[in-house]
């Protein structure tokens, strides 16, 4: 076979791989998710349903109503989450974007945590419980200790990370020691953590607010412990975003560049082979769960120290669970989770302005669910768009090697 022909063949192969690979699939999944959401908006729209009654005499009415409700709905989402063109000043117009960043930050941090366990072949469904444990520790430091500014924030942040990591490590330990499945352990601990947190906030000696109203609630974080505003007092965006971005960098370095990450990935790829190669798989599980929960702890600190309102049992805001969808959409990679977290953060930021124009923002929950459903079922996406199946031979890798390697380096 001539070299030219070989080259052509591997190029065709590479195109196939790009089509069947992660990026295309992810983009198509997101688009399909929005399409499914649009169908629900149309289906529940009154004008559309009325127009359906005389569909055959004037089909344009139904079509018009459908287009209108979808463009209004997603238009409101854009105005609420990215850029509000109706605002009188530029400062106000970009406020939605800062809200997206603020609400996306904890999703990114927690998403990294869940993504880490996916890479090790574990399922951490316990984001909620770990987040709550992180919040217990962070809230305790923020409300019960007196420390100078900056130091207080840092100590509270570290406390949040440690609190969450302790619970994660416990799950890892129980799994490694007894072989109990981490999914059941983490789901049970979600409930235990929630009731424990509620108990602490009912008890004046522990976390309950000073002027107790009878409902479980903690004091707001001390001013010295609050996360400082990032771009002025006009926006609620705070340093939580910076910590989330730092977490992305740490995650990337940890997973892609460090020895620990190599060990984690190796166990995820094939635990038996890793064990044969001398890696202590049980210890790796404990480490992975602790690290995972540690990232969730960053989100916990964000919830405890982000706003000057005392936390309540519902302050976990379902972030631990949403983080699963973030990690799935982000393909468990640092940059992917960053983008996925921002997308779902935008959903949270845009929800109120959809409410205003009378479209239930709950539709975004459907979009979110549909996106991850398509992500979770690659064959389904391939079937819908008739994409070629993933090939086993790694032609893309071969091309990359030829382009980027020097002098036959491995």
């Amino acid at each position: 076979m001539s070299d030219v022909k070989k080259n052509e063949e591997s190029m065709a192969q590479a195109v196939k791989e790009i089509l069947s690979g992660g990026l295309t699939r992810t983009v198509l999944s997101v688009l399909l998710g929005f399409l499914v959401g649009a169908l629900f908006m149309i289906g529940s729209n009154k004008e559309f349903i009325e127009a359906l009654g005389y569909l055959f005499s004037r089909p344009s009415d139904a079509l018009g109503a459908a287009v209108q409700v979808v463009s209004e709905g997603y238009g409101a989402l854009f105005r609420g989450a990215i850029y509000n063109a109706d605002a009188d000043t530029f400062e106000k117009a970009i406020r939605p974007l800062t809200e997206t960043l603020r609400l996306g930050a904890p999703l990114i941090a927690a998403g990294l945590g869940i993504g880490l366990t996916f890479r090790v072949g574990l399922f951490n469904i316990g984001g909620t419980g770990q987040l709550i444990f992180g919040m217990i520790f962070a809230t305790f430091v923020a409300t019960r200790l007196e420390l100078p500014f900056v130091l207080h924030t840092i100590v509270a942040l570290i406390a949040g990370i440690v609190g969450a990591a302790l619970l994660g490590a416990m799950v890892g330990f129980l799994k490694a020691r007894t072989g109990a499945h981490e999914v059941i352990l983490t789901i049970m601990l979600n409930y235990i953590a929630l009731y424990f947190f509620t108990f602490l906030m009912r008890n004046p000696a522990l976390l309950q607010e000073t002027r107790a109203t009878g409902n479980p609630k903690a004091d707001p974080a001390a001013e010295t412990a609050l996360l400082p505003k990032l771009i002025g007092d006009n926006y609620s965006l705070h340093w939580g975003l910076i910590f989330a971005l730092l977490a992305v960098v740490v995650f990337w370095w940890l997973m892609e560049r460090s020895t620990i990450g190599f060990r984690l990935r190796m166990v995820g790829f094939n635990p038996d082979a890793a064990r044969a190669a001398g890696i202590n798989v049980e210890k790796t599980y404990i480490l992975a769960m602790a690290l995972s929960a540690g990232f969730v702890g960053v989100a916990a600190a964000n919830q405890s120290l982000g706003v000057a309102v005392g936390v309540t049992p519902s302050a976990h805001a379902n972030i631990g669970f949403d983080a699963i969808t973030v990690a799935l959409l982000g393909g468990s990679s640092g940059p992917g989770i960053l983008l996925a977290g921002l997308l779902f953060g935008a959903f949270k930021a845009g929800a109120p302005s959809m409410q205003v124009i009378g479209v239930s923002p709950e539709v975004l929950g459907i979009v979110q669910g549909a996106i991850v459903l398509f992500i979770a079922a690659p064959p389904l996406i391939r079937a819908i768009f008739r994409l070629p199946a993933v090939q086993n031979s790694n032609a893309l890798g071969a091309i990359r090697k030829r382009l980027f390697s020097r002098g036959g380096a491995k």
Partner: protein, 417 residues
């Protein structure tokens, strides 16, 4: 009967240790250090045909007595362990019943315990968990992990409420609930059997999707037009003649809605099919060793598909029990984690229908105890009572109460060589 593989496993001493420590805790905390005051266990309602007098006991005496009984049962469990035999389910049930009774007596020191009300409500609350767990047993026994029980309960609850309201027929509502949840199971089964997708991920994703869809429809449709589409009322309470006149167990078991009766029937029937018929043997073979089952001619893919699907239908019935079987109208995310509890119950009951149903009752009791404890003796940290079943599940999963052995091929996709 007990010619299972499990008998080959060595029965450990962890269960007797945990049981005797709990008994000791009861003896000391609820007995010697217990609360003063008489407790009246009201075992007959005023409307009952046969009236039995209330049983009056001293709260701390009950604690001491129950503690001793619990320790005695632990001794029996220890004796069984020494002979390398498992403790029978009914003995554990008695142990659990004594434990719940002493807790009731401790909470209600100086007051009365309405026995039939508490046990009856616990059963009604447990029904969605029981049915969800039966769905879980059916799919896990053939080797498919079903995390989507939560979504199946929620979709069942939604469909039962909406279809019953619109058509005015509870039968259609129940059918719609079962069909919807079965369809969800078909998605899960197809993804796991045909596409070999990660079962846990598919389950989680289905939950997210159902929560999203029901939240949206609830907000957009049910709140605006609630009178027409979300006002089903509840099923009629059926009194089985003669049986419902039996003191204590009559009102608890034989005076209920059809959803409760169905649950009480499905559990033993599933046990019979699973352990006494060829159908069940094949299903278990598929879950334990699909290759062997395939070799002797069992169609692994088809068996898995239908068991998971029918399990989904049963979970959907559990959803119907939430709305038209108890609350009436549908509420946002009203399954509130019952599906995850069902998942725990499956493991707690070691993939056995009857043990799983009993474990579900434990959760039912914990829910009603929390509500009732707040009324009868405010100030008791009820958060801890609510925590107990979850802690028990962890203890069980971690293997302190005898090892729980899942079906061998659980969550393992099977491809024909």
């Amino acid at each position: 009967m007990s010619m299972n593989i499990q008998t080959e496993e060595k029965v450990g001493f962890k269960a007797p240790i945990v049981m005797s420590s709990l008994g000791l805790l009861v003896l000391v905390l609820l007995g010697f250090l217990g609360r003063e005051g008489m407790v009246a266990f009201e075992i007959s309602r005023r409307t009952d045909v046969v009236q039995l007098p209330a049983i009056d006991v001293d709260s701390s005496t009950l604690g001491i007595f129950s503690g001793i009984v619990m320790i005695a049962i632990s001794g029996f469990a220890l004796w069984r362990s020494m002979q390398n035999k498992r403790t029978p389910i009914w003995v554990l049930t008695v142990y659990g019943a004594v434990g719940i009774t002493v807790l009731l007596g401790w909470l209600a020191a100086g007051a009365t315990v309405p026995v039939t009300f508490i046990a009856g409500t616990a059963l009604v609350l447990a029904v969605p968990i029981i049915l969800g767990a039966m769905g879980g047993v059916m799919s896990e026994r053939v080797g498919i992990t079903n995390i989507a029980i939560e979504g199946q309960l929620l979709s069942g609850a939604f469909m039962a409420a909406v279809v019953s309201s619109i058509t005015g027929s509870f039968t259609l509502g129940i059918i719609a609930a079962m069909v919807t949840a079965a369809l969800m199971s078909m998605v899960l089964a197809t993804f796991s059997i045909v596409f070999l997708a990660q079962q846990i991920i598919v389950g989680v994703v289905l939950n997210v999707l159902v929560i999203g869809i029901t939240n949206f429809l609830y907000q957009q449709w049910l709140t605006e037009d609630g009178e027409n589409v979300n006002f089903p009322g509840t099923l009629e309470i059926i009194k089985i003649p003669v049986l419902s006149d039996i003191p204590v167990i009559g009102p608890i078991l034989f005076e209920n809605r059809i959803t409760v009766f169905l649950a009480l029937v499905i559990v033993p029937v599933l046990w019979f099919i699973l352990f006494k018929t060829r159908l069940g043997l094949r299903a278990r073979a598929v879950g334990e060793h699909p290759l062997a089952a395939d070799t002797v001619g069992v169609n692994v893919a088809r068996t898995r598909f239908w068991w998971v699907t029918i399990g989904g239908a049963i979970a959907g019935l559990g959803g119907a029990a939430l709305t038209i079987g108890n609350a009436g109208a549908f509420g946002r995310e009203m399954s509130g984690g019952f599906g995850f509890i069902a998942l725990a119950v499956v493991i707690l009951g070691r993939w056995h229908p009857i043990s799983a149903a009993l474990a579900a009752l434990l959760f039912g009791f914990s829910i009603i105890l929390r509500v009732w404890a707040n009324q009868v003796s405010p100030g008791i940290p009820t958060d801890f009572i609510t925590m107990v079943p979850y802690l028990v599940t962890i203890i069980a999963v971690v293997g302190f109460v005898g090892k729980s052995i899942p079906p061998k091929a659980l969550a393992v996709p099977y491809t024909k060589g």
